[in-house]
């Protein structure tokens, strides 16, 4: 990968970000909210995708999602810190740190055992959160309104302000992750996915790469949790429940591990299906979601990202000719 690739990538991302920010001014408020929520879910799924590149799927990202959300919430209510950017950043760092602690423990497991152990951790956290009455127990608590660099936006623009922040954040994260995916540890992860033992024989540490991936995934999950909490203005133990984690896995499987933008597209797709079926078929939205899920796994087994990659490959081929 050359400098030109990254220059292009950065220019493209800045372009896309500006388009989305301008578009945000003209679309209805509910759609702004849905996109912000999709970004929150997409960030967590991006963490799972990072793990997936190393051949692992976590069924317990609700664990970091909840930690991130509660970090932002508690800083807001207890410490009076309401700056959205700062909250997102601190949640990212803190859950990343948590990931660094749990990473070495989880990195020893593979396949279904990794999935189940991460699930167990998230459910332990769920059980604990439900029992701590000081932070609302099973009801959770309400977050104070967020400020942006010292400014408290009027209620008409609160959603939009968060939307802008999350778009910019996502742009930065996506570019950085592309750098990481193409770096040495990022590429070793792909090799671990193919054959871990051979990677070890070649002298690279699959364990270290997995811990690194897990830490990144945890940070992203925490940031997603904080963003989701701020967007909803409320947080509760459901953040850590296994059905929430299931949705993240769904997004990442739908997106596949080949493309970063595909993750956000998949997240948006899920949010749209959820809000439309929630609105028009309130009693059967799970049914619609389930059928949608099964069909997409049957017909796009490698994820939306594989379309993106095919398209880009074709484009590059044409250029070379």
């Amino acid at each position: 990968m050359t400098h030109k690739f990254y220059n292009n990538l950065i220019v493209q991302s800045i372009f896309l970000m500006s388009v989305l920010i301008i578009v945000g001014l003209f679309i209805p408020n509910w759609l702004v909210f849905v996109i912000t929520k999709a970004i929150a879910y997409g960030l967590v799924a991006l963490g799972i995708v990072t793990l997936m590149r190393g051949g692992l799927v976590s069924f317990g990202q609700g664990f970091v999602f909840a930690i991130g959300g509660y970090t932002a919430g508690l800083l807001g209510t207890q410490a009076g810190l309401t700056d959205a950017v700062l909250l997102l950043f601190i949640s990212f760092l803190f859950t990343g740190f948590v990931g660094l602690i749990f990473g070495p423990l989880l990195a020893r497991y593979r396949d279904i055992f990794f999935a189940m152990l991460s699930l167990a951790f998230s459910m332990v956290l769920y059980g604990v959160l439900i029992k701590i009455d000081a932070i609302g127990g099973s009801d959770g608590f309400v977050l104070p309104e967020s400020t942006y660099f010292g400014i408290l936006p009027s209620s008409d623009y609160a959603d939009y302000a968060l939307y802008v922040v999350s778009i910019i954040l996502t742009g930065i994260v996506s570019v950085l992750l592309r750098y990481y995916y193409n770096s040495t540890p990022g590429l070793i992860a792909l090799a671990v996915r193919e054959n871990e033992l051979r990677v070890e024989y070649l002298g690279a540490s699959a364990f270290r790469v997995t811990v690194l991936n897990f830490t990144i995934a945890a940070g992203l999950g925490g940031m997603g949790g904080a963003l989701n909490g701020i967007a909803l203005g409320h947080i509760d133990p459901e953040f850590s429940y296994w059905t929430t984690s299931g949705e993240f896995v769904f997004i990442s499987i739908l997106a596949g591990y080949l493309s970063v933008p595909a993750v956000f597209l998949a997240a948006l797709l899920l949010e749209l299906v959820r809000s439309f079926s929630g609105r028009y078929f309130p009693d059967t939205w799970q049914l619609i979601l389930g059928v949608f899920l099964i069909l997409s796994i049957i017909y796009i087994p490698t994820g939306i990202g594989s379309f993106f990659k095919k398209f880009m490959d074709k484009l590059n081929k044409k250029k070379n000719e």
Binding site: I112, K131, W242, G290
Partner: protein, 299 residues
Amino acid sequence: MFDEILTIFLDGAIYASWLFIVALGLTFVFGVLKILNIAHGGIYALGAYSTATLVPIFYSLGMPEELVVLAMLFSALAVAIVITPIMERVILRRFYGQDEVLIVLVTYAIYLVLEDVQKIIWGMKSFYVSEPREILGAVEMGSLYYVGYDLALIGLAIFCGLALWLSLNKTKSGKIVLAVIHNPEISGCMGVNINKVYLAAFFVGAFFAALAGSFTAPLISVQVGISVAVVIESFAVVIIGGLGSIPGAVIGALIIGMARAACVHKLPEAEIFIMYLCMAGMLIFRPKGLFQGAQARKI
């Protein structure tokens, strides 16, 4: 003191036997088909609902009270007969041989669908069928009184476990299933119809889930949301015992049942997460569970 220990022991055993019947189906399906079935909880709920529907019909027909067990068995059987072809033949068979975690996600999707199917068929209201619980009367244990039906559940669990274990190890068709578990491809070459074995195994698993549902229905109020807890609890059991192991499911169910009963009596705050703690602890110290042998690594 003695009473307290006996209470914890009996409560734990009753809870464990319920959990064991659910987990037995789950672990058997995983053993044969290599599918960790989240929708198992959904089948359990369907079993409970169908019992809640059939038992009042059974009484209204004026049948003798003692035979109500037959109605419960029949409802479990009906659920398994309806659900197996749809789930195994139509959906799951497309995913055989694929990544286990992907299949978990597929069963999660089926679970979501089943949740709403319950709401569509039975609505949001709660059902109570406590009549079958009274047929065995009360049993005196020292200074304690227990409902006979609850204690009979322990017997049912033992019967189910023994029946499955014996038919696997002592009959010809059971040995064929064991061969398929060991190596599906070679068994296929030897003339075993693997598709049939998978279908039968899934049927047995679904039947146990529905059976647990029908026999639990008299103890609880059957309502929306009963399946969600069962999923993770039965996961915890099979993870502790080792995926695909019947003795493992016994031990796993006993550990979780006793731990939970002890918590209910001694440390109620921990009741909700004790089983996840058991599961996490077991995975940390023995990741493959108590009863799973070494597996060769592929190079």
